[in-house]
């Protein structure tokens, strides 16, 4: 049975303070002119008044740059050239106030990092250490289209707790044991009442008018879409920057790089992007995705077709709207999805 807790907003800050004793806390904070998820400093409060963050909170489990191993190149060191694990802090951490779309994204991305054959230890250890506390979206941005991606402003998938702003209080739904534990640890124990949630949810959903059309994607044939004539037109404006892929909560691609300083070095993994030519460049110089339209096609085919076919979990997009908002040239995944969805191959 799901527990409902009432959190008086007067008690929120104190609760966060209590949580910081047993969790590393991450939350939305305003930097220069936008909000982003950061690890909260001692005494710092998450700013839950934000609309949406520039970057998604995927960095909490998947940092833009992360050390995997260290090594020594000093041959007088008996263990030179042997990879050493990097000490990691996987003590309990919590993300406070993430959007339901970003939480659903985490559960989609998990399918990539946790497979029957391999478990990515960095992503999974961070994921398992994290309690995800969501904040239902009351005022979705104009470019949000989560309701047509199998998600929604009150979606619970991927969350341990969902907070609903109810004026003077948050209605907190504990969705998992992890969530219950967090609420208890914050001293949030007042029994609450979820009766207001359904109406609020319907009101929030009604505010989302933007849509993505995806209903026919699964029945398309990969090769038909791949060979479709529209990719050059779709791709023309693209400048092949990494804005969309870095902002996207469901993009997970990374690069592995060795960085040395003197005789010591670190094997890092860094966010990477299918938008860059280097992503697929062979050692020989040959590049199977040398041209812009090939890279743009890869991005949209991955999100809207390959992923759909591979996992049968819908598209690899939660409708957060960041790529639409931030693309310097207005390449819009909704337009591309419609083009793909409507496309009928000439037989």
């Amino acid at each position: 049975m799901m527990k409902i807790i009432n959190i008086d907003k007067q008690k929120w800050a104190g609760g966060v303070e209590s949580l910081s004793k047993s969790y590393r806390l991450f939350g939305p904070v305003k930097d220069v002119d936008c909000h982003n998820f950061k690890e909260l400093k001692q005494g710092e409060q998450p700013d839950l008044s934000y609309g949406n963050t520039k970057l998604s909170p995927k960095s909490v489990v998947f940092p833009p740059s992360e050390a995997m191993f260290t090594y020594s190149l000093d041959e007088s060191n008996p263990e030179h050239h042997i990879l050493k694990d990097v000490p990691k802090d996987y003590s309990p951490r919590a993300v406070l106030g993430m959007r339901p779309c970003d939480a659903k994204a985490v559960s989609l991305v998990r399918m990539n990092f946790d497979t029957p054959e391999y478990r990515d230890p960095y992503w999974m250890d961070a994921y398992e250490a994290t309690t995800f506390v969501g904040l239902a979206c009351e005022n979705p941005c104009a470019s949000c289209f989560c309701t047509s991606t199998g998600c929604g402003p009150y979606n619970e998938e991927g969350l341990d707790v969902l907070l609903v702003d109810n004026g003077n209080a948050y209605i907190a739904k504990a969705l998992t044991e992890k969530g219950e534990k967090l609420l208890a640890s914050g001293g949030f124990t007042d029994a609450g009442d979820a009766s207001a949630v359904d109406a609020k949810k319907a009101a929030a959903e009604a505010k989302i008018t933007a849509k993505i059309e995806t209903d026919k994607l699964s029945e398309k044939v990969i090769m038909d879409l791949y060979d479709a004539p529209f990719w050059h037109d779709v791709a023309f404006a693209c400048i092949n920057c990494c804005t969309c892929t870095y902002a996207c909560p469901t993009c997970w691609c990374f690069d592995i790089q060795d960085e040395n300083k003197g005789c010591e070095g670190v094997r890092m993994r860094n966010w990477d992007s299918c938008m860059t030519p280097l992503f697929t460049m062979h050692g020989s110089g040959h590049n199977p995705r040398d041209k812009k339209h090939q890279r743009v096609r890869q991005r949209f085919m991955h999100k809207l077709k390959y992923f759909v076919d591979k996992y049968q979990k819908g598209i690899m997009c939660v409708g957060c709207g960041r790529c639409v908002q931030q693309c310097p040239v207005n390449l819009d995944i909704r337009t591309v999805s419609k083009t793909m969805n409507d496309y009928v191959a000439k037989s």
Binding site: M68, F69, Y71, L73, H80, H81, I82, L83, D85, N112, F113, T115, E117, Y118, R119, D120, P121, I222, M223, Y226, D227, W252, C253, F254, D255, I256, Q257, D258, N260, G265, R267, R269, D272, C274, F279, T280, M281, H282, G283, S284, P288, R289, D290, Q294, Q298, M301, H302, K305, Y306, F307, D309, K310
Partner: protein, 282 residues
């Protein structure tokens, strides 16, 4: 569970120049921790990431055979940052090997079948592994007729010459060695491109005969129609592909063709499977 990104530490046990132009060298590695050799149990057709701390990693097909114990061997073409560094390393140097990765050639499913191995250039490494494996006395009887068609640019570019010569002497394997061209009057094998030689010497297709192919894109492109002509079914043509890789375990996202990841879902595919996958360079 073991961290799949962590390479087993190895020592370079020997380095052999593999071609006359020295662009390929064969590296034999010995595991620093003997138990790692057990963990690295591989099959022919799989690859590994050669991991050089300070430089990076490169995916390379395993050239040794599971029947060869005590070491693991790779033949590496010098081309990028990591391979250039590797070519300058010395016997005794320490580095890492991570794997085995990817699917092997489906030799278990090929028991009792006739097998035609078609290779060219320096993509002969995993095919060498396969041949050594099949010729092993414990395994030879499990397979039918074995034909090998192998081509190189010129006699100096042929890999594993001593072994090829030894296989030539055997009567349980038919060797068809060719070079694109040579001015060596003592050259006693075929002259001509692999597709042409394949057309001449490959056995006619039947349900019991399978082709395993690995080579540069051009060779594959022109050999496929020859096999079609000889009547090979696309289900009976097995290929090994390559792409830029980083993780090698299907996670980092770059080596896909269509929805398949070459590192994890491949690198071995049948031609029938590839028909439903984009070629990417279009």
């Amino acid at each position: 569970m073991q961290n799949p990104y962590k390479a087993y530490p190895v020592r370079i046990d020997s380095i052999d120049v593999a071609t006359e132009d020295k662009s390929l060298r064969t590296f034999t590695f010995v595991f620093l921790n003997p138990e790692d050799e057990q963990k690295f149990a591989y099959e022919s057709g799989q690859f590994a990431e050669l991991s050089i701390p300070g430089k990076g990693e490169i995916p390379i097909g395993i050239a040794s055979s599971p029947t060869e114990k005590g070491f693991v061997r790779f033949t590496v073409f010098r081309t990028g940052l990591v391979t250039n560094h590797l070519h300058n390393m010395k016997v005794g140097d320490i580095m890492g090997v991570r794997g085995p990765l990817g699917h092997p050639y489906p030799l278990k499913d090929l028991e009792g079948k006739n097998i035609v191995i078609i290779g060219a250039g320096f993509a002969f490494t995993t095919l060498r592994s396969t041949i050594v494996y099949m010729l092993n006395p414990e395994n030879r009887s499990r397979f039918g007729k074995i034909d090998v068609i192998y081509g190189a640019r010129n006699p100096g570019m042929i890999l594993y010459k001593d072994e090829l010569t030894a296989w030539e002497q055997r009567d349980d394997i038919n060797m068809h060695i060719t070079v694109d061209g040579t001015d060596d009057p003592s050259w006693k094998y075929h002259t001509g491109f692999v597709p042409t030689i394949t057309e001449k010497v490959a056995p006619q297709a039947d349900d019991n005969t399978y082709a395993i192919m690995c080579g540069p894109p051009m060779m594959l492109k022109f050999t496929k129609p020859v096999l079609d002509k000889l009547g090979y079914k696309h289900e009976n043509i097995i290929l090994s592909l390559e792409n830029r890789m980083k993780c090698g375990i299907g996670i980092c996202g770059r080596c896909n063709i269509g929805k398949e990841l070459i590192c994890k879902d491949g690198p071995v595919f049948t031609l029938a499977q590839l028909k439903h996958m984009p070629e990417e360079d279009t």
